[in-house]
Symmetry: C2
DNA sequence: TTATCCTGTTAGACAAAGTCTAGAAAACAA
DNA sequence: TTGTTTTCTAGACTTTGTCTAACAGGATAA
């Protein structure tokens, strides 16, 4: 998933026009399963990459990727959103001391009872976060 | 839990000196089980209450209450932290369209398998958030 | 009573994430 | 080529939250 053509195909397959900036951002995100904040990606694009992208483009692009299901927003840190390049079902450990976010495989948690949703609503995702601290 | 003396006792029982501002904030929070943001509480204190409190005091106080286990921080909205006056075990629905946060009783969700924690860490809370949208 | 301490409160400056706007640049179609 | 649409950009702006340095007020000691 790291070569440019694969990234371009992936974007097209999700209905995202593969512009220079979007491909740059996608290449960073999809290099491996990881959790990055918008500001981290902004720095990475403007250091590691050949081309650059503005703050507005980073935010717009991440919002677009999230809407198209290419990445998943993870809200565990009150100060910033993480974008998870792994969109398959899984959960998270969040270390409140280090700020580190790590994956819990889907099969490591089993939920055998869930509530009915409120009238007039539908599910948009189930999140399980195990907050941990250094002992 | 709404009269002043009960609030004062509650604070003392948690090792919190019951100052004027803290009691004001606690009275608002513990009037009923609810989810309020710091900015909401700031407005409420300076409108509804006899006394007032500054922004810094609101944030300091909510941080103190959270540390003492009087309230629980709920992180579901990327733009603000909610303070939950119900600290007993329960989970949350979060409506991404309305921003509304509602409770799921503890017994409506059953988790029968949980992962081992990473080496050198201990649990600091299990969160389950069911994100919903209007259908 | 007065001085001293300690805790808590305050205004306002500051920081950081994220949004918005208006114009420039690409991309594309005719 | 020209016109139209989409994307990108700088930078102003907003909001939540933090920090600092001064101040207030109660308890205590002399």
């Amino acid at each position: 998933m790291s070569n440019r053509d694969d990234i371009v195909s992936k974007l097209k397959a999700s209905g995202v026009t593969p512009t220079t900036q979007r491909v740059e951002i996608a290449q960073i995100l999809f290099a491996r399963p990881q959790h990055l904040s918008a500001e981290q990606i902004l720095k990475m694009v403007n250091q590691e990459s050949s081309s650059t992208a503005s703050k507005a483009t980073i935010y717009n692009t991440l919002g677009l990727f999230a809407k198209k299901g290419l990445v998943k927003e993870v809200i565990v840190d009150p100060s910033k959103v993480f974008y998870d390049s792994n969109v398959s079902k899984h959960f998270h450990f969040y270390n409140i001391d280090s700020g580190e976010l790590t994956d819990i495989p889907a099969d490591a948690i089993h939920i055998d009872k869930l509530p009915n949703l409120p009238q007039g609503t539908e599910s948009s995702g189930l999140e399980v976060i195990v907050r941990i601290k250094n002992s």
